[in-house]
Amino acid sequence: MRIKQLLVGITATVIAISSYVEIAVADLKFPMLVYRTGAYAPNGIPNADGFVDYYKMINARDGGIGGEKIVHPECETGYKTQVGVECYEKNKKDAMVFQPMSTGITYQLIPKATADGVTVYSTGYGRTSAANGKVFKWIFNAPATYWDGATHMVRHILKENLGNIKGKKIALIYHNSAYGKEPIRTLQEAGKKHGFKLSLLPVDHPGQEQKATWLKIRKSRPDYILMWGWGVMNSVAIKSAASIKFPMDKFIGIWWSGSENDVLPAGQGAHGYKALTFNAPGTDYQVHKDIQKYVFAKGEQSGDGSHFGTVLYNRGLFQAMVQVEAAKVAQKIHGVSKITPAMYRDGMEAVDLTAKRMEELGFKDFAPPFKNTCENHGGSGLAAVQQWDAKAKKWSLITEYMYGDKDITEKLIAEDSAKYAAEQKIAERCN
């Protein structure tokens, strides 16, 4: 296939060179920073496919957003910050929104995008305190933040232990980067509040080497393990846990550590592993039927189409849906179909995804409702716990969607964003 692609490419070269122009201005540009190569590709590919298929479906079914076609140029970052910056600079002109899919790149883009007036939407990742819209005008991280996630886990553990986790040992295995370190402070606060003992076990990039980590776990025998992993780190950790016979239902991952790619390599050993999620798995939704009809039926699916309906593919659909919805809201607010990046931001801030609206969009019961406001860019904070069934090879939700512990997170968000505002001399908005 690649050779065929190359041949087609070469024959097209002459035409392409002569007609090389920036993407036509009549369209809405949603640049994509993806990573289909490198240590994080197993997670990057299904997610990117979800985005592309959704955009293609909207273009084919509705003729774009309010008549404006979506263009979605891909830029391969390999999860590398420096390449991410290059991709951003290359695509930022007239871009509606950037979805960096990497906490490191998000940190990088927050000041740049704020200066350039481009929206960044880091769906459930990135800088948690960006949930404070008063300080972070251009950054959104709805529907839930890492700090919400940390308190969800604690809440789930509390429930399993009938509200008393005093003296319990909880270990956090985390990717030794900004991403993995995000929940530490929250978990420390929660530890003070509920009286559990937290131990921290960092895993270095790319995450394959975890022998020392699991040796420590075998020695210290924690009651629960929480994980902030991504890429190969997830599957290695789950395999290691299975091999030391750690009870899998006491092992809980964040929403980025709970996809099929992470559990399948461990086979039956992964049975019972839990992870948070803010969207449902499966293919029984209207949006999947539409994608089948408008994209797959024509053979235009992104990649090989094998990730259809997986957790990260569905998350990609959700993320793309929110981004498209923001454009629709912006068109409504400003009364024009050809919106500018600044108008797009207004749309993103006014996104109100009620259960009814999600049903109209083909996402009935797919995710909990959420709403952005001027002050709150972090959404509802609702997430549920899903559990892996290794026999049926299926994820299923085992709890209701629950709120995070706002007592803990709101204080921390206010602190962290105030610090950022002081450093960068940002005046608070929305007052």
């Binding site: 690649r2 692609q5 190359l6 490419g9 070469i10 097209a12 070269t13 392409a16 060179i17 090389y20 993806v34 289909r36 190569t37 891909e74 830029c75 391969e76 390999g78 590398k80 910050t81 420096q82 390449v83 910056v85 290059e86 600079e89 290359k90 490191g104 940190y107 990088q108 927050i110 000041p111 740049k112 704020t114 200066a115 350039d116 800088r127 030794n176 980067s177 900004a178 991403y179 370190k181 995000e182 530490i184 402070r185 270095d204 990039h205 962290d416 450093e423 960068q424 001399k425």
Partner: protein
């Protein structure tokens, strides 16, 4: 016939020792400088700044640093990433501790701090040589990155270990932070590169430089003729680390603005690429440092531009090709021209001298 030295007589030692002894070289270099200082800032945009020019200048500086140590003094080092991290974190600490200090001074102090650290890690070079030294410097790479990730004091106890630059200005124009205009960051780096580049060039032509090369060519012989190995090797480590530290400071403060030590100063993102730069550019050549840096910075972007934007391949296919082409070029280069791009340039000069009557 274009590039001939006939008729250019040197009547003083000064003119004989000039960096550019030929009038043609002088004209070419002055034109280049005029172009770089006046034309480029006028026509550049933020894409050129962030993707090509600023990384090129910063990596040139790092390559000069490593070339001093490896190319001129013969001490192989894989610790470039670690030393750049020292420069970056020094800048961050000084910047946050002394908010009123000028950014240029901060960058230079960071270089000096890195020089100190470089001396420390250069000490083993007195006992171990060649590949063994490479392993020892590799240890410094891992140790320094680990240190900056482990000890929260270095990142001011921020929750995520990320360090973020705050805005600093030169002559009222911001050169760091997101509001810095492209020409400002570019010129800031360019001024440093030109000054430090000349300094390095002259240092290499001085007694210090000659003793480095004596140690490189045969350390026992050098010692016998009176070159002190301790002083020479440590001075090479110090000066090399100074350059690398300044590069690290610029990489953090001017180029990226926010850095996470494990990712940004990883051995695969810094140490090996900088080593490739001096190997491809030419070991023991100033010009080679620039050519190598230019080659390694622009190659992926150039390939991507050709394959994705012009040919229309998908981003991922292009990436796979890029990785393959990259590896192939490395091998081809080392076979065809082991002395690097700088050697190609001197061959070209020879040809130009004889043109149009080559033999």
């Amino acid at each position: 016939m274009i590039y001939k030295e006939t008729g250019q007589y040197k009547s003083s030692y000064k003119s004989d020792h000039a960096i550019f002894p030929l009038i043609q070289d002088k004209i070419a270099f002055s034109t280049l400088m005029l172009f770089a200082f006046i034309v480029v800032p006028l026509i550049m945009n933020s894409y050129w700044e962030k993707a090509i020019l600023v990384p090129f200048l910063i990596f040139s500086l790092a390559a000069i640093g490593l070339n001093i140590l490896t190319g001129y003094c013969g001490q192989v080092s894989l610790g470039t990433g670690g030393f750049m991290a020292v420069g970056a974190f020094s800048t961050y600490k000084i910047m946050t501790s002394f908010p009123d200090l000028n950014i240029m001074i901060i960058v230079l102090i960071s270089g000096l701090i890195t020089a100190g650290v470089g001396i420390l890690f250069g000490l083993p070079s007195l006992r171990i040589k060649g590949f063994y030294l490479a392993v020892a410097t590799l240890a410094s790479q891992f140790f320094l990155v680990w240190l900056f990730n482990k000890v929260p004091w270095f990142y001011n106890y921020s929750a995520t270990g990320q360090i973020t630059v705050s805005e600093r200005s030169m002559f009222g124009i911001p050169v760091t932070g997101a509001n810095a205009p492209p020409y400002a960051t570019y010129l800031f780096c360019l001024v440093l590169v030109v000054i430090l580049g000349f300094a390095a060039k002259n240092l290499i032509r001085s007694k210090t430089g000659r003793s480095w090369m004596a140690i490189r060519d045969m350390d026992i012989a050098a010692e016998i003729i009176g070159v002190p190995p301790l002083k020479t090797k440590l001075s090479a480590f110090a000066i090399s680390s100074f350059y690398i530290g300044v590069a690290g400071a610029l990489y953090f403060a001017v180029f990226l603005g926010a850095i996470e030590v494990t990712e940004s100063f990883d051995i695969m993102t810094i140490s090996f690429p900088v080593l490739f730069m001096i190997i491809i550019g030419g070991l023991g050549s100033m010009l080679g440092s620039f050519l190598g840096a230019g080659f390694i910075v622009t190659l992926p972007i150039g390939l991507k531009f050709i394959m994705v934007d012009m040919v229309g391949l998908s981003a991922v296919t292009a990436k796979h090709f890029e990785i393959t082409i990259w590896g192939l070029l490395m091998i081809v280069f080392l076979i065809v021209e082991p002395h690097g791009l700088a050697r190609l340039w001197s061959i070209a000069k020879e040809k130009l001298r004889r043109w149009p009557f080559p033999y």
